[in-house]
Subunit: 153 residues, 2 copies
DNA sequence: TTGTTAGTTAGCAATAGTTGCAAAATAGAT
DNA sequence: ATCTATTTTGCAACTATTGCTAACTAACAA
């Protein structure tokens, strides 16, 4: 899933052109387990490809999500986050520094609502709390804040 | 929790004035188990109090949430939803009609992340799927769409 | 009843995040 | 080298929400 050939094949399969923008974004995302937002990826991409458009970042992320190459996750902190880990997992959000960590749920609880009438296709679990860098007793100082506008809650 | 006196007391306690707007919104919310958005409540409120401001609705909902009188839930469908049910429960979102139902989690799984390093203060579980009115085999037609702008996904 | 005033409302501008649209650019096929 | 269906860009528009502030009013006092 990481070789350039693989990538090219996947794109061709979906009749998507192998543009430099797509290659860059795909690569950046896969080197990144911090659950970046579109804006985060735009900044990273801009360093390697000055002039790339934020619009393209959104567009491409949307396409990759549709292709099943990444998960779009909304943890309720404003911007959507993009996760190259497409396995069945959930998320932990640090209330202090904003860090997001993948959480594997070992024993998946049997899902059924009381009435048995719902048809559940997707379960999203989001944990909020303090991460290892931010628990009061932590040795280290709070992790670098996930980049976000100062005005954001 | 429903008597006017109760309400008045609670407001006074927090040194909040018992304004007609607050009374109306509090009442509307408690008659409503559909998990309305601020906009939904604004529309409902406007019928009984033409001229009420959307700004006031947001303001009041924020205050009630801070008071612990309601839960503010973000199920990832755009606008925040407001739930007068403040018990420990989760949510099911119908992908078809947008309905939101409370889901009680009977046996609460023990929460611990693998490392034991996180400090989890809040867990939000959101189920997405089709509700009883929307499962293909349903007798009834899809429930009335939760009011939302047609342009919204 | 009438003041007084701290708390509240309403209106509007501003913000964040995201999408729609149309024109300019280009990957990939011939 | 040419052609054209896709892409990329830039920008306007949009949704949800908040900041600011002037006008208003509930609640308490006189």
């Amino acid at each position: 899933m990481r070789s350039p050939n693989e990538l090219a094949r996947k794109f061709r399969e979906k009749q998507l052109k192998l543009t430099p923008q797509r290659q860059l974004l795909f690569g950046l995302l896969h080197q990144n387990d911090s659950h970046p937002s579109a804006e985060n990826l735009f900044e990273a991409a801009s360093k390697q490809m000055p002039g790339i458009s934020l619009r393209t970042v959104y567009q491409t992320l949307g396409e990759l999500a549709e292709m099943g190459e990444l998960q779009m996750v909304d943890v309720g902190t404003g911007a959507k986050r993009f996760d190259p880990n497409i396995s069945d997992h959930h998320h932990f959000v640090c209330e202090s520094c904003g860090a997001i960590r993948d959480v594997e749920i070992a024993a998946k609880p049997k899902l059924r609502d009381g009435s048995g009438k719902f048809e559940i296709s997707q379960v999203g679990v989001v944990f909020h709390g303090r991460c290892e860098n931010c628990v009061p007793s932590a040795k280290r100082s709070p992790a670098q804040q996930v980049k976000q506008k100062a005005t954001k809650k």
